[in-house]
């Protein structure tokens, strides 16, 4: 049996073998509840403390700035709703191309008296500076922008944007779920520029699902999303998911050790893939901007994205059409719409997100399969017209 090639690392990644190995003892042997005072509990607490230090070290934060949550969505909800709950309703600004777990909480706040501005992006997927300036002039209280977009991989240069937001008196948050592990992320430096909080997620960078963190400047007052017991300095109650947190910590340590080499590997594969795509007549989204080393988002005129990924799956290549979370949604990607891509072309969007285990042979095989598939689909479309 042939194993399908996994090209969807922005949706989720396998846990690294070292991560799994570190987690295993915490299922059936070191299984204590970290709140228990006996040895089983204390061992669990020590493991969490160590993981907290590993997470903090990987992003240049202090351990006390790390709040563990069940996932990136929860961390984004906590930051947005939690900080809003401690402020009088005012202006809230988020990027138009944000992940739904920023957009939806922001829309919820808009129903509770907040004014929501979705900051427009240009054709390259980056925030339009003039319009950003105009919104900042209206003194927003909270600003949230992706560090790197999950669909396009486009990287936002958030430091000047955060500086401007700080001058306007806003809390500035950045969802760094896709950036972390692929780009250097330094919270101390970002914090110096006015970034008050970052969201990280374990399962996008070789860790397990079920653990994530909000890295948060303690000056932000936050109302917890989940009450009861006062875990995580009162910011997030609930028995800690020790095994997943341990896995997250080890995954962070691996990022520190491997990130530079991994990024170089991914960049080589991306260049190979993009060259091939352009040669086949593909259109690359966001290519005029700086992007994550692993993400390629493209379309072929006259080829429906859903149909194409279906064919590719059957041929043994797992890729995505749009973000995983909204894949059930037939609407064209809100990210591409925000970038001004017309709906026709946007419906053709396919995302390849590369990972550590991918190889040049896999990319070459993928390009050959893609060429045959696109040729066939384009001929069918031409016949139908």
């Amino acid at each position: 049996m042939f194993a399908p090639v996994y090209f969807d690392h922005n949706a989720t990644t396998p846990a690294d073998p070292a991560v799994l190995e570190a987690m295993l003892p915490y299922f059936s042997e070191q299984f204590g509840n970290a709140s228990s005072r006996h040895e089983y509990g204390r061992a669990a607490r020590r493991a969490i403390d160590e993981a907290r230090a590993q997470v903090a070290a990987a992003v240049g934060a202090h351990a006390t700035e790390v709040v563990f949550t069940s996932g990136g969505s929860e961390a984004n909800n906590l930051l947005l709703k939690g900080s809003a709950a401690c402020l009088r309703p005012g202006l809230l600004a988020v990027g138009a191309a944000e992940h739904p777990c920023v957009l939806k909480p922001a829309e919820q706040l808009a129903r509770r008296g907040w004014t929501l501005e979705k900051l427009p992006v240009d054709g390259g997927g980056r925030i339009v500076r003039e319009q950003y300036e105009a919104v900042m002039a209206r003194k927003p209280k909270i600003v949230s922008l992706l560090l790197a977009n999950n669909e396009t991989g486009v990287i936002e240069d958030i430091e000047p944007l955060a500086e401007r937001a700080r001058a306007a008196g806003a809390w500035f948050h950045s969802d760094a779920v896709q950036a972390f592990g692929k780009l250097p992320v330094d919270f101390r430096r970002l914090n110096g520029a006015g970034v008050h909080a970052l969201t990280l997620s374990a399962h996008k960078m070789g860790g397990p699902k079920g653990a994530a963190a909000l890295i948060v400047d303690k000056r932000i007052d936050l109302e917890p999303l989940i009450a009861g017991g006062g875990h995580e300095r009162g910011l997030r109650s609930g028995t800690e998911n020790v095994a997943a947190i341990v896995g997250f910590g080890v995954a962070c340590q691996l990022v520190v050790e491997r990130r530079a080499a991994l990024a170089a590997h991914l960049l080589r594969l991306r260049a190979q893939l993009e060259q091939g795509l352009l040669a086949l007549g593909g259109k690359l989204f966001g290519s005029e901007a700086e992007r994550l080393p692993n993400t390629v988002y493209f379309a072929f005129a006259g080829v429906d994205g859903e149909t194409l990924v279906g064919h590719l799956d059957r041929a043994g290549y797992a890729v995505a059409s749009g973000a995983a979370c909204s894949s059930a949604n037939p609407e064209p990607s809100h990210v591409l719409r925000a970038m001004g891509v017309d709906d026709q072309l946007a419906r053709g969007a396919v995302r390849v997100s590369l990972g550590r285990g991918n190889t040049e042979e896999q990319v070459a095989g993928f390009l050959a399969t893609l060429q045959a598939t696109v040729d066939r689909l384009q001929r069918l479309t031409a016949m139908a017209v």
């Binding site: 042997e29 299984f31 228990s36 079920g210 017991g229």
Partner: protein, 403 residues
């Protein structure tokens, strides 16, 4: 050889059953897909595993799989149930009823709802820890939208009369939420007959992993909730966020094993618990906290009078037990649950919760009995109070000098 310390704290958390761990591991490495990925086999495989687990959870409690919403644990389930229902039905009324001996996850959430403008009645329990149904009924008002009562108390293990409360609530058009975190695998739960609208579960008290739980949301009659976590619209909009497949698979397997084995397992554990009780009953001045009849088979909560609580815990370090619930035991406050039973602070302080489980052996229980006999008599030898009691002094009549 006994492995020390002996784990007698199964209500704080349980080890993942090795059979459960074995099912989980492939979903971390080979079958690692995101269940929300709709475009490839990695995603479908993960989604199928999630749905199979949902069926297993539903089966244990006789629910429809469509009534099961995944969460990160019982604390989140309780938050979602209470805040979600209160906010959705706030047009109907703004009053809730709960009980003073509930878990912090319910009590702290109620406090938050009070800050949002809801009124909450916190009911007392009887001396045996059980809720008085008449008092419960009397507390319900025309503007009451929801009552929240735990199935099994985490500290004293008493089982509340959920079936009767369900009848009362349904007849009055009031939603009933039940925190069943401590009940699964210990008490038969049949949501086809129980008139319960919302029920919270977690995996890690029933030999599954930490980090996963579920909320039962009744479909007939339909219960609605305001979501508390927004994003990609997972879990039919009730709860957004990537589903942790391996943890969900673990919860499904843990609940499947509970369904198959709880009958025989509970009898074995009950015998061990009763052995422990018999072994400790001949120590003078010990008091069992909570009703022994309406109680889960693995819990024993005992106050040892004339022994200082902290010294007792230090003395029995070879036993991993808890005084008060794990979540609050970092504080030196006496257990609010025991105080609600009318126990004085001294007795509450000197209480120990023993919770036995799947891997507890007779040898471990016997060791615990011997250790407690030994340490308690030694601590009492050092206690001036115990000496006075032995001399026939009634301590309640003593006038203590102020310092």
């Amino acid at each position: 050889m006994l492995k020390l310390p002996i784990y007698l704290d199964y209500s704080a958390t349980t080890p993942v059953d090795p059979r459960v761990a074995e099912r989980m591991i492939p979903y971390l490495v080979e079958k690692f897909g995101n269940p929300a990925s709709r475009s490839h086999s990695f995603g479908w495989e993960a989604e199928a595993a999630v749905e199979e687990a949902r069926e297993e959870v539903a089966k244990l409690v006789h629910a429809d799989p469509k009534e099961i919403v995944w969460t990160s644990g019982a604390t989140e389930s309780n938050n979602l149930a209470l805040k979600g229902a209160a906010q959705f039905y706030s047009g109907k009324g703004r009053h809730l009823v709960t009980v003073k001996t509930e878990h912090k996850a319910v009590l702290d959430t109620c406090r938050e709802l009070e800050r949002q403008g809801f009124a909450v009645t916190y009911l007392d329990v009887q001396e045996n820890g059980l809720l008085d149904l008449e008092a419960f009924s009397a507390a319900l008002r025309p503007d009451t939208i929801l009552a929240s009562v735990m199935f099994v108390n985490n500290e004293i293990g008493v089982i509340q009369p959920i079936a009767e409360m369900g009848e009362i609530c349904r007849s009055r058009g009031i939603l009933l939420h039940v925190d069943a975190a401590q009940a699964t695998g210990k008490v038969a739960i049949d949501l086809e007959t129980l008139k319960v609208d919302l029920m919270s579960f977690c995996a890690h008290k029933t030999y599954g992993p930490k980090g996963v739980g579920a909320l039962y949301v009744r479909r007939k009659p339909r219960v609605r909730l305001t979501a508390q976590m927004h994003g990609g619209g997972h879990e039919r909009g009730f709860r957004s966020g990537t589903l942790p497949t391996h943890q969900i698979v673990g919860m499904g397997e843990a609940f499947r094993l509970a369904r198959l084995e709880m009958g025989t397992e509970n009898e074995r554990i009950r015998m061990l618990r009763d052995r422990l009780l018999r072994g400790l009953a001949d120590i003078e001045e010990v008091y069992v906290n909570g009703d022994m009849e309406h109680r889960v088979p693995h819990n024993l909560n005992i106050s040892f009078a004339y022994v200082e609580g902290e010294s007792l815990l230090m003395a029995i370090k070879d036993l991993a037990v808890s005084s008060g619930s794990a979540c609050t035991s970092a504080s030196l406050e006496p257990s609010y649950v025991l105080r609600a039973l009318g126990r004085n602070d001294e007795l509450a302080h000197s209480s120990i919760r023993f919770t036995l489980g799947r891997f507890t052996t007779e040898e471990e229980v016997d060791y615990a009995i011997r250790l407690l006999h030994d340490k308690i008599s030694r601590l009492r030898e050092l206690s001036p109070l115990w000496e006075m009691v032995q001399d026939g002094v009634d301590l309640s009549t003593v006038q203590w000098a102020a310092h």
